[in-house]
Amino acid sequence: MDVLEIAQECKKIKDNIEKVMVGKGEVIELVLTALLAGGHVLLDDVPGTGKTMLAKSLARSLEGRFKRIQFTPDLLPSDVTGLNYFNQKEQEFVFREGPVFANVVLADEINRATPRTQSSLLECMEERQITIDGTTRALESLFFVVATENPIETVGTFPLPEAQLDRFMMKLSVGFPEAQEEVYMMQRFLSDNPLDSLEAVCSKETVVKMQEAVKHVFVHEVLQKYMVEIIQATRTSSNILAGVSPRGSLALLRCVQAYASIQGRTYATPDDVKYLAQFVLPHRIVPLASYEEATDNRRIIAGIVDSTDVPVENFKGV
């Protein structure tokens, strides 16, 4: 599969989602980037902006199993992963799969569950497998978690631990629509819910093929060094307690490859790095500040990216 085919497939998915989501092309593209890069997405925004709608639209657009988990304070890890129960009729333990055994999993309001339950996703998100009662089970080859959280309502919520945040390839905000876009949205939802009539436009096999193909997108050595410079700067910055992990470097690399292929390019550019750094890196750093101020991570990363030399030409003489 070449990049042009990837670009076409992604356009098809994007157009399909845009039948429901109005004016959110950029976010859709970023979600697709994370999907092709083999990562997971955390949608962080105020209620009612369309986070769940976006996840559902994506799931509908792809052929495959979709599962939704409503995270609540009383949710148990076994409710996520599955459990072995004793079948009295058969007189044996039988494994009942949890919702993670799907292709697209929507973890709605993930910060409402306890850290114990949140942590149940660690293994499956990173290693695409789940271990229950000593037995390890592989998940589907296409496994994509879209989690949502509400940043303003903190009462009765549990902020995601750093280890869990690091598992998400990107943290995105959907944002409010523009006035005109909101009018279009009303018109679409006037008599019907377009989500109900949404059909799949891409098979899960195609998505897996695309995930493999994006790994062949060329990233020049100077760009690799550029990325490392940015990552290193987060580790040495005086404003940051803990910088981006090597997992974060790899996530940025994969995202850059995926994004370039969605744009129909066989190579990445510094613009890709600069653009994606603001979605891939901020949630991976721990600034020297309180939790409230930590929401400004994106600005810290933007400052670092802006102060890092881009590998263009040596314009000292200009």
Partner: protein, 439 residues
């Protein structure tokens, strides 16, 4: 860390070795060149003919004629321009007063002036030397004085006006032309080698003048200097042809007649030669140009061929000038130039460039990158240039001061990105498209 340290040490070792090698070679070439010039001047002053009893010069006078300009030339290199100009004027005036001013002396200076001008132009166009431009402006007046004095003195000799008591023959315009042409050729030829070695030597000493430039630029400049010098020599040989010299003679004679008619020279008629009284006096080269009789009809094809050759050589020189002048636009105070930083220089294959590469290779990829570099140089406003660092190619395009240029710039940026960040081959078509867009 260790690897970069060892590379640095290796670079330093290589530098020292190359410096020592080229230092010795430079000394040798410098000595050879000075010897060649000395020989040329002695030849022109008929020194050996005097030894055979046929010359006109005393050995001591000849030595002073030859050595004083040489010493002056040496001081030129050590002192600043203004002091040298004053010294030159003073010595020239003194020599005029004592009647020791000779044609060889002035020929030497004239050639030195021409070569110096040529060199500064080479440096300006082929290295894009910012300092050379700055200093050229600063010393503009001094250069005018220096070259003005030289031209004045040569004119005075030709008019036999300033040195009536000289021991040497006042020369005719024809002889002066002949000497000038031959001496120019010999001098330029000798200086090619010397300059080559000198630049190499300074490069490896990391002297400020050339130490900061890409090695391949330096090599290219040397090659072009050699080609241009050879073309100039061939041109001078053509000019030495009888028909051209006769034309020059007629021109100079006309000027002199005009000056005599105006009463400027104090002479009543033009002297074609002036023999000194004494048994040893002989005619000098002047006769060679005049005595030979050629049928006028035979001169026509010869003259045509010469004319064609002159035009061809002139055209080639013009093309070379245009090509490099185009690379260095002078619209702003600061023009494009390419410098390299220390270990980023790619002369030694053991040293790898990290990140930004400053020298552009000669393949399509390099050409596209260079064109893009020039586009940025030309398109971005002076006031916003400080913000260039840390910007991507596309961001730079959006910084263009003229909005109507942006469409082309965007297309160029796309081609540039392919050349800079991809593995794909860059075709001639890409280069052509880039050139068309950059117009």
């Amino acid at each position: 860390m260790c690897q970069s340290h060892s590379l640095y040490v290796k670079w330093g070792d290589n530098m020292q070795r190359e410096e020592a090698k080229f230092g010795l070679a430079t000394e040798f070439c410098g000595a050879a060149m000075k010897g060649l010039v000395l020989y040329c001047i002695l030849l022109m002053t008929n020194f050996w003919k005097y030894q055979e009893g046929a010359g006109d010069f005393q050995p001591l006078l000849t030595a002073s004629i030859v050595l004083l300009p040489m010493a002056l030339s040496y001081i030129y290199c050590k002192w600043d321009n203004f002091s040298c100009t004053l010294l030159h004027v003073a010595v020239t005036a003194l020599w005029c007063a004592i009647g020791a001013l000779t044609v060889s002396n002035e020929i030497y200076y004239s050639i030195a002036a021409v070569v110096a001008m040529g060199e500064s132009l080479f440096q300006k166009f082929f290295l894009g030397d910012m300092d050379a431009r700055r200093y050229a402006r600063r010393y503009k007046m001094q250069n005018y004085i220096k070259y003005g004095v030289m031209i004045a003195v040569i004119s005075m000799i030709m008019l036999q006006y300033s040195n009536p008591g000289s021991k040497q023959y006042p020369v005719s315009p024809t002889t002066c032309c002949g000497y000038m042409v031959v001496a120019f050729g010999v001098y330029v030829l000798s200086i090619i080698l010397y300059r080559y070695m000198f630049l190499q030597y300074n490069y490896f000493r990391q002297k400020e003048s050339v130490g900061g430039y890409a090695y391949r630029q330096l090599k290219r400049m040397n090659v072009i200097m050699a080609v241009v010098a050879l073309l100039l020599i061939s041109l001078s040989m053509i000019l030495a042809d009888e028909s051209v010299v006769k034309l020059a003679e007629k021109l100079l004679t006309g000027i002199m007649e005009l000056l005599i008619a105006l009463g400027v020279t104090g002479l009543s008629k033009i002297k074609t030669k002036q023999l000194e009284t004494g048994s040893k006096a002989v005619d000098v080269a002047e006769g060679d140009w005049n005595v030979r009789k050629v049928r006028p009809a035979a001169q026509i094809p010869n003259g045509l061929v010469n004319l064609v050759i002159v035009l061809v050589v002139g055209y080639v020189l013009f093309k070379i000038y245009k090509r490099f002048a185009a690379n260095y636009k002078t619209g702003n105070d600061e023009a494009e130039y390419i410098r390299v930083n220390d270990e980023k220089e790619k002369y030694f294959s053991t040293i790898k460039s990290t990140g930004k590469e400053t020298g552009f290779s000669n393949n399509n990829r390099g050409k596209i990158r260079k064109l893009y570099y020039k586009m940025i140089d030309a398109g971005i406003d002076k006031s916003t240039r400080s913000a260039v660092q840390g910007k991507t190619a596309r961001e730079l395009t959006e910084m263009f001061s003229k909005p109507y240029d942006r469409d082309n710039a965007r297309k160029m940026t796309k081609i540039y990105e392919k050349a800079r960040y991809s593995q794909e081959d860059c075709t001639d078509q890409d280069v052509e498209e880039m050139k068309e867009l950059s117009v």
